[in-house]
Symmetry: C2
Subunit: 339 residues, 2 copies
C-alpha cells in the first residue's frame, strides 16, 4: 500500500450482507481506494452506486483479483472454498463470512473485541464467525475476562436476514399475503414464516442438534479459547427482519459476579451497550438493535435456580455485528497491525 | 343437577379467551344446558350466536348468578376477586382464568393431566393457571413422574393472544402499517410489536424478574407439587398470534432418561403430541399448535453441556391449553367426580 487507502472487493455484492458492506464502508469512512464488486454471472453487468460512483458488478467466475488488498466474501461456503485460494494467490487478504474456514486451525476466527489479540498481522485468510456466535461472544467476553464461565445455556430468536435477502423477502411477502387472507406457500423456507417461528432450518446431526447450533457451540468455544466449554444452544427462527436475540444463562466456575459488576464490565466493553431499564421495562429488542453497531445487553439478573449463575438477554444486528460490520472491523484491525 | 346438562356462564364473554369458550363447548359437546354470557356494561345488550341461538350479553355488575352451575371467569384478576364470592354464594362453581387465586392455598390450581388427582370434587373455586405454566407443566409432568427433575431453564416465545384481543389486533394493525411503510405508534403495548420482540411487558420485581416470569416459577412449583424446584424463566413476547413456544432445559436429580424413554412417555401422555421428525426438520411450531388441543413437544435431545440434562421445544395454543380448554377440562373433571 503506497498510501492510506486500500483496494477493496466484495464477493456476493448483491446479497443482504453484500449490500451492507457498502453502507458500512461509507458510514465508517473505511479507507476504500478502488472498489470492485463481484457476484454470480446472473448479476454481472448490473451497477451499484457507491458515494456517487456507479460501480459495475463483475462475474466472480472470471474475476482477476490482482490489485485487490482486502476482499470481503459473502457468497456461501462453496464459493469461498473456490475463490479464496485464487484471491490469496493474487496477493489479496480474504475476510470470509461463510462457514468454509471457521473451524480450520490455520485460519483465525475473529471478533476483534473478543479475540482480536489473536489475529496475526500477516493473516491472508480470516474467518468471520456465525452471526449468533459473534453476537453471543461479544456480550459474554467482557464477563469471561473477569469471572471464568463454566457453562452456557442459550436459546435464540433469529431474524430472517440470517437466511439472506430471499428469506427477508419471503417473510415480507408471506406476511402481506396472510394479512390479506390469501393462501401462503413457503418457497425458500420449509415452513410458514408469517406470524410463526420454527427450529432453525439446517440439517440435524446424530446428536439432535442442527448445523446452526453446532456452529454456535464450536465457534464460541474456539473464539473464547475454551475448547471444552460446556454449552447448549437452541436456535429458533422468528419473524423479525434483521436482528438476532438470545436468552443466555451463564453459570460460573466460582461465585457469580454481582449484577452491578457485570453491568459495569459491560458498560466499559467496546461493541456493547447496556439496555437494562427495569423501571421502564426497556431491554434489548430487535427494533432498537437493527441498524445499530453495538450488541445490546440487558435483563442482567441473578439466576434463582443456581447459586453461581446469571441471566442476560441480548439483541444484535445480524447484518452488522453478526456479519458485515465484524468483517470490516477485522480488516480495520489488520490495517492497523500492518501500518 | 336433575339431568346430564349443566347451566353455564362465561364472564368476559367478549374477550379473546371468552370467545374461545363457546367454540370449545361446541367442539367438545360440553353438556351446556342454559348458557349465560357476562361482560362489562359496555358490551351488555350485544348478542352472540351459540349453536344457532342468539344469546344476549348481560352486564356482569348486576348479574344474578342463581341457577348457574359452572362459571368460567376470564375478565382479569380484579373482576374475579369481585365476582367470585358472589357467584360462589349463589351456589355456582367458579373456574377462574385470572391470577387472582392461583397462589391461594385454599384454591386448587389445576391442569387435569398434571395434578387433576388433587382436585377435590366439592371445590367451589378452581384456579386455571398462567398459560405458559400450563403448557410447560403439561409437557414436563409425564417426564417428572418417571425421573425426578432437579432444575428447569426456560426461555419463552409468547404470542399476542396472551395480552388479549386488543394486543392481537395491535399486532395485526402494526404489521399492516409497517408493510405499507406507514409510521406505527404502539397503543396497547409499550414497544413496537410488528417484526419485533421484547421482554414480557409486566412490571419487574426486586429480583429482576417480571411478573409473568414470577408467575410461571411459582405456579409450576405449585402444580408439580415441588415447592423448592429450581427454575429460571425468561419470558419474551414474539410476533405470533396465538400459540406460545418454550425452549426448555431439564436437569434431573439422577441420570437423564434416554431420548427414547422420554419420547415414549410423552407419546403415552394425554394432552401431549410428540412432533420430533429430525429427517424432515419438523418440530413444534405455532402454526401447527394454533387451534390444536394438544401441547406439541419435540427437539428431544441430550444436553451436551450437562451429564444429567435433556432439552425440549414445546408449542401450545395459548387460548386453548393455555386458557379456555384447560378451564373446560377442569369443569369436565368436576362433573365426572360429582356424577
Amino acid at each position: 500500500m503506497v498510501n492510506d487507502k486500500v483496494n477493496v472487493a466484495v464477493l456476493g455484492a448483491t446479497g443482504a450482507v453484500g449490500r451492507e458492506f457498502l453502507r458500512i464502508f461509507a458510514a465508517r469512512s473505511f479507507p476504500v481506494g478502488n472498489l470492485r464488486l463481484f457476484a454470480s454471472a446472473r448479476s454481472a453487468g448490473q451497477t451499484v452506486d457507491y458515494l456517487g460512483n456507479s460501480i459495475s458488478i463483475e462475474d466472480a467466475a472470471t474475476a482477476d483479483w490482482a490489485g485487490v488488498d482486502y476482499a470481503f466474501f459473502s457468497a456461501g461456503a462453496g464459493r469461498s472454498r473456490e475463490y479464496a485460494p485464487i484471491a490469496n494467490a493474487a496477493g489479496c487478504t480474504v475476510i470470509d463470512n461463510s462457514s468454509a474456514f471457521r473451524m480450520d486451525d490455520q485460519v483465525p476466527l475473529i471478533v476483534p473485541e473478543v479475540n482480536g489479540d489473536r489475529l496475526p498481522s500477516d493473516a491472508k485468510l480470516v474467518a468471520n464467525p456465525n452471526c449468533t456466535a459473534a453476537i453471543l461472544c461479544t456480550a459474554i467476553a467482557p464477563i469471561e475476562r473477569r469471572a471464568r464461565i463454566a457453562r452456557l445455556v442459550v436459546s435464540t430468536y433469529q431474524s430472517a436476514s440470517g437466511g439472506g435477502a430471499a428469506v427477508m423477502e419471503e417473510l415480507r411477502a408471506q406476511t402481506e399475503a396472510t394479512l390479506a387472507g390469501r393462501e401462503i406457500m413457503p418457497e425458500v423456507l420449509p415452513h410458514p414464516y408469517a406470524f410463526n417461528l420454527f427450529s432453525h432450518n439446517t440439517p440435524i446431526g446424530e446428536d439432535g442438534f442442527n448445523e446452526e447450533e453446532s456452529k454456535v457451540i464450536a465457534e464460541t468455544r474456539r473464539m473464547m479459547g475454551r475448547p471444552d466449554l460446556a454449552i447448549n444452544v437452541t436456535c429458533v427462527r422468528v419473524p423479525v427482519m434483521r436482528a438476532h436475540s438470545e436468552s443466555i444463562t451463564i453459570e460460573f466456575e466460582g461465585a457469580a459476579p454481582s449484577e452491578e459488576d457485570i453491568r459495569q464490565w459491560l458498560n466499559e466493553a467496546p461493541g456493547v451497550r447496556v439496555v437494562d431499564d427495569r423501571a421502564n421495562n426497556h431491554f434489548p429488542m430487535p427494533s432498537e438493535a437493527s441498524g445499530t453497531d453495538d450488541v445490546l445487553v440487558g435483563r442482567i439478573r441473578r439466576d434463582p435456580s443456581h447459586p453461581n449463575a446469571v441471566l442476560l438477554f441480548v439483541s444484535g444486528d445480524q447484518l452488522l455485528k453478526g456479519a458485515a460490520l465484524n468483517a470490516v472491523q477485522i480488516a480495520e484491525t489488520l490495517i492497523r497491525l500492518r501500518s
